[in-house]
């Protein structure tokens, strides 16, 4: 029965990296050799016993997995349902991002690469990359928009302490999109020595699939934990925030083919979807190409990419992973747009009710709770993608103005 649904796998990418209408690898020839090398090798390498042994061991002893699935009593009472928090914030470095970087640095090593580059928005992916590079003694360069370097200053300091070089991206809105442009340019200019660790399920094939597979450990653990906690591996809802969509991809992955599990993503609406200051790509975007990927993209009528806005640096991206564009189009998952203010409110609520300060990105997922009509028997898993230390300066400003 299960193998039958698994065989069809309508929500996984095909050989060319397409999820339905979305995905692919729209890259200039200057990137072809690098991307081809990765595409030809990633499945075999990450599927190998050798890789899995190292990966699992590091996830357990270095990252601190499995992360707890915590049934949040106070929050459950408030929303009248059983609410479980998947504590990705308790990973080493404080977010889910490290699941991906551990895997990709191991992969880069197998490919014989000596130099690692990455882009980062909130700085969590940059820190996770710098951390694993320090561990494995690899050179590490992180591109970060200069606006983000300011609003996520603690993470810039952490990356530097870990020995990474942080290079400011000074073009466009000086945020995640621009940092990604710079990282891609670096890769074009360093076609042999370098592996580019993309931090989300975006970019050209095979990245969306590679990163989703490395984050899939999240839903694998949720299933096992729910089974032992409740007797059933499947919840009624899984909720996650979506920037590029990697924590959501990981939290959804093993539920994609189980239609009874409702999957919900939270995009950043910024100041509102019709304010012109938003990052809700699925709502205001149209099919287009960003960073080598055909997806839902915020753009002008003339096909120029529009600068996004979100209070949360990690969701401040005008595109979205092709998996999510596909899940949205096929209605397999539902996406809410959460404003800056709704996210802030949810961040304070979690801090005050459960004693957990979430990242601003994560707060977008939490803000979905009050929009759902929940039954007391509903089991709801919220993927707590990261902790809020990096956002304290933003939170302090709000506290002071209260």
């Amino acid at each position: 029965m299960q193998s039958e649904t698994l065989n069809k796998r309508p929500f996984h990418s095909d050989a060319s990296g397409f999820y339905g209408d979305f995905g692919g690898a729209f890259i200039p020839e200057m990137l072809y050799a690098n991307v081809e090398e990765l595409r030809n090798n990633y499945l075999e390498i990450i599927g190998s016993a050798d890789f899995q042994k190292d990966y699992q061991k590091l996830l357990r002893n270095y990252v601190g997995r499995p992360t707890p699935l915590y049934e949040a009593g106070n929050l459950s009472k408030r929303y009248g349902a059983r609410i479980f928090l998947k504590r990705e914030d308790l990973n080493h470095t404080g977010a889910h991002k490290i699941n991906n970087t551990v895997g990709q640095v191991l992969l880069a090593r197998k490919l014989g690469k000596k130099r690692i580059i990455a882009e980062t928005g909130a700085g969590q992916h940059g820190v996770a990359t710098a951390t694993v590079c320090a561990l494995m003694q690899m050179e590490c360069i992180v591109y970060m928009g200069s606006v983000d370097m300011e609003r996520q200053a603690p993470n810039v300091a952490r990356m530097r302490m870990l020995g990474a070089k942080v290079v400011p991206a000074l073009s466009g809105s000086r945020t995640l999109k621009d940092a990604t442009n710079e990282a891609i340019r670096d890769w074009i200019n360093n076609p042999e020595s370098t592996h580019y660790i993309i931090g989300s399920v975006v970019g050209p094939h095979p990245y969306p699939d590679l990163v989703a597979r490395l984050q899939a450990v999240i839903s694998e653990e949720i299933k096992a934990q729910l089974l032992s906690e409740t007797g059933n591996p499947n919840p009624d809802y899984v909720i996650a925030c979506v920037g590029g969509g990697s924590n959501a991809a990981g939290a959804f992955y093993h539920f994609l083919d189980a239609p009874e599990v409702k999957l919900i993503g939270a995009e950043a609406a910024g100041e509102g979807i019709s304010s012109g200051k938003t990052a809700a790509s699925l709502v205001v975007g149209k099919k287009g190409i960003i960073h080598g990927c055909l997806t839902s993209l915020m753009q002008t009528e003339d096909g120029q990419i529009v600068e996004p806005h979100s209070i949360s640096a990690g969701l401040d991206y005008p595109g979205i992973g092709p998996l999510h564009a596909h899940l949205h189009q096929t209605h397999r998952a539902l996406y809410y747009s959460i404003t800056d203010n709704e996210a802030i409110k949810a961040a304070f609520e979690l801090s005050e009710t459960e004693g957990i300060i979430p990242a601003l990105e994560t707060a977008h997922a939490l803000a979905v709770l009050e929009k759902l009509q929940l039954k007391t028997t509903d089991k709801v898993v919220v993927n707590l993608s990261g902790r809020g230390d990096k956002d304290l300066s933003t939170y302090m400003k709000i506290l002071e103005s209260r």
Binding site: F26, E29, A33, N181, P191
Partner: protein, 259 residues
Amino acid sequence: MKRLDQLLMNKNSRVVNIYFTAGYPSLDSTMSIISLLEKHGAGLIEVGMPFSDPLADGPVIQESSRIALENGMNTDLLFEQLKSLRTVSQIPVVLMGYLNPVLQYGMEKFLSMASSCGIDGLILPDLPPEVYESQYISLFEKHEIYPIFLITPQTKQERIHYLDSLSKGFLYAVSSSSTTGGKSGFNKDHLAYFERLASTDLKNPLMIGFGISNNESLETVFRYASGAIVGSAFIKNLNEKTEDFGIPAFMNHLLNKTK
């Protein structure tokens, strides 16, 4: 015979191919730049269509694109400007840009407009040849727009032949894997690569671009290929303050001509 084929008929054509960004330095400079280039020794012109996120370009073309967009350049306007192209000039002209603005405009409409302006070819570096082959080949043929593909030093021999088989007019070899406007000049790795290309049996004439900024690098490329492509160096020297944009001086210098 088509303009591009005629231009590159013999191997020693020594064609100078100049790239510039439409809408830079000013919104309506496109046609003047084309005329000046033709008059001062260019054999082929690549008109760059500015894009907000030019991820294969270095600082010079990034900046010219940003200013061009700020000036208000867009696809409709460019075609409007190019409408008069064939009444004033017979120089071969190809358009170059990123795929997304073309897709938003509509591939068929784009090719048809380009064709009606007398455009000869189209270079879309982020259009994968596999996608071109499966979706667009017949549209390009119908509108008689030549598709031109890029190869790099990392492109395997088998793929070079594949890209050559799809290209028409010429095959565009970038001298090194880099963004535009990188290091200028060539070392022995470049020369070995050019040597390899020169001895590869290609269907198309070869043009080499990236890293050409002066007469010396131009002459080096002419030893191996039918033409040389100059972009960033030209744009860097565009001078808005003079009526001729500084183009005659730049071209004379590039061609080592003393007027």
